[in-house]
């Protein structure tokens, strides 16, 4: 039976990007379907009636939802490049940091960059503290996955291009080279990896898009 694999995504979504990176690393062919999030397709509503969100990976008619769940599925289904570590303890640690990024770090960054002016200072402080935890976790490694990118690097994709765009679009500086030398270096190395580079959206367009999505009219 010929395998049918399609990815419903959105060009500016870091969550869709994670899936693209993973499929590229596994050297898996797929059909990409761009979704207009302001005019969702019947296909998206059919496959994800609960959340109506991208990314959705459809494999032989089976829909996979939620980027972290999709990444686990991809690693379990296709051999080749290992996205997750093999050792159970290291897997637990990788899953922990992936969850930390999605549940704690990203919301804090959003609040710091795009939240109310009133709470801005506190939000920046919180985001900075959380980024420090990630900076410490990187230690002297080239990537969170070691010599090559792994789960946590892929999930941290938002911290490379998207964070730069957030900072440019909002005027709030978070991940400076002085405060975060390791993460800044990581961000550059990550974005230069071929599997990542060819799947990142264009920076200027992204900045404009994010600004229109999150930004408020001029004070």
């Amino acid at each position: 039976m010929a395998e049918e694999l399609s990815l419903l995504g959105m060009w500016a979504s870091p969550f869709s990007c994670r899936v693209k990176i993973a499929l590229k690393l596994k050297v898996v062919q797929y059909k990409y379907v761009e979704e207009d999030l302001f005019n969702k397709s019947p296909l998206l509503l059919k496959y994800n009636p609960i959340d109506k969100k991208v990314p959705v990976l459809v494999h032989n008619g089976n829909p996979l939802l939620e980027s972290l769940v999709i990444l686990e599925y991809i690693d379990e289904t296709w051999q080749g490049y290992p996205i997750f570590p093999k050792d159970p303890y290291e897997r637990a640690v990788a899953r922990f940091w992936a969850k930390f990024i999605d549940d704690k770090l990203l919301p804090a960054i959003r609040r710091a960059c795009w939240g109310e002016e009133k709470g801005r200072e506190k939000a920046v402080e919180e985001a900075t503290e959380l980024l420090q935890l990630l900076e410490m976790e990187l230690k002297e490694k080239r990537f969170f996955g070691g010599e090559t990118i792994g789960l946590v690097d892929i999930v941290a994709d938002t911290l490379s291009l998207w964070l730069t765009s957030f900072e440019e679009g909002s005027g709030v500086e978070l991940m400076t080279r002085e405060k975060f030398p390791k993460l800044s270096k990581w961000s550059h190395e990550f974005a230069s990896t071929s599997a990542v580079k060819e799947n990142l959206p264009p920076k200027d367009e992204l900045t404009v898009f994010l600004k229109s999505l999150f930004g408020k009219p001029a004070k």
Partner: protein
């Protein structure tokens, strides 16, 4: 295995630490349980989980791990004896992981909020909780086995186990109803079977103490809203 040392830091009424205990007990893994007072956190807890400062924390041969769903996966990958908690098939595994998140991020969050709030905030949370419960009911209906894990308790049963025992307590404390048995027959039937399992039945916090505890929490948290 005598050389293996397993410790679990938990809190007596936390559905998050208890689901990990259920997993260890179902697998027959010996462990030392350490009760943490989450309102007066020990230096040990802060040292072992500096990022979140929360229970549960699992320490296995000196390796420290946190986050209950992650611990369930670790337990399943490390102790491979029955019951196998996660399904073998990758697609079935992904469904289990997905529905665990829906139950946790939607039903649990909204139910707890509804319990602690009043007025419009409560109504909103209640409505969202019921919506989530309806989706879960559909999944329960689709599953025609004894448990969501099949003939034996699995990952998704453990993830959703709080629905069978904590939710009715929250409903009472919050003077509300989310899972009406007449509207949610599949969830109700599954809840009964889950609580009837000998391992689960013997590892539940006392209901009367739970009522006192959550009444207090409701007062404190409700005051902040």
């Amino acid at each position: 295995m005598a050389s293996q040392e397993v410790k679990l830091l938990g809190f007596w009424v936390s559905p998050f630490s208890i689901r990990v205990e259920w997993a260890l007990k179902l697998k027959g893994v010996d462990y030392e349980y350490i009760e943490e007072d989450i309102f007066n956190k020990s230096s040990r807890l802060l040292e072992l989980n500096p990022v979140h400062k929360k229970v549960p924390v699992l320490v296995h041969d000196g390796k420290v791990m946190a986050e209950s769903f992650i611990l369930l996966e670790y337990i399943d990958e490390t102790w491979k004896q029955d019951p196998l908690l996660l399904p073998q098939d990758p697609y079935e595994r992904s469904k289990a992981r997905f529905w665990a998140r829906v139950a946790e991020e939607k039903l649990l969050e909204y139910s707890f909020t509804a319990m602690c709030t009043h007025g419009e905030k409560k109504e909103q949370a209640l409505k969202s909780a019921v919506e989530a419960a309806e989706k879960i009911e559909e999944e329960m209906k689709r599953n025609n086995k004894k448990f969501l894990g099949g003939e034996s308790i699995g990952y998704l049963d453990l993830a959703m186990g709080w629905i069978a025992y904590w939710l009715p307590v929250w409903e009472e404390v919050g003077s509300m109803q989310i899972v009406d048995p007449s509207q949610f027959p599949a969830t109700t039937a599954w809840s009964k079977r889950f609580l009837d399992h000998p391992v689960i039945k013997q590892n539940l916090p006392p209901r009367d103490k739970m009522l006192v505890y959550f009444h207090e929490r409701r007062k404190i948290l409700g005051g902040l809203v």
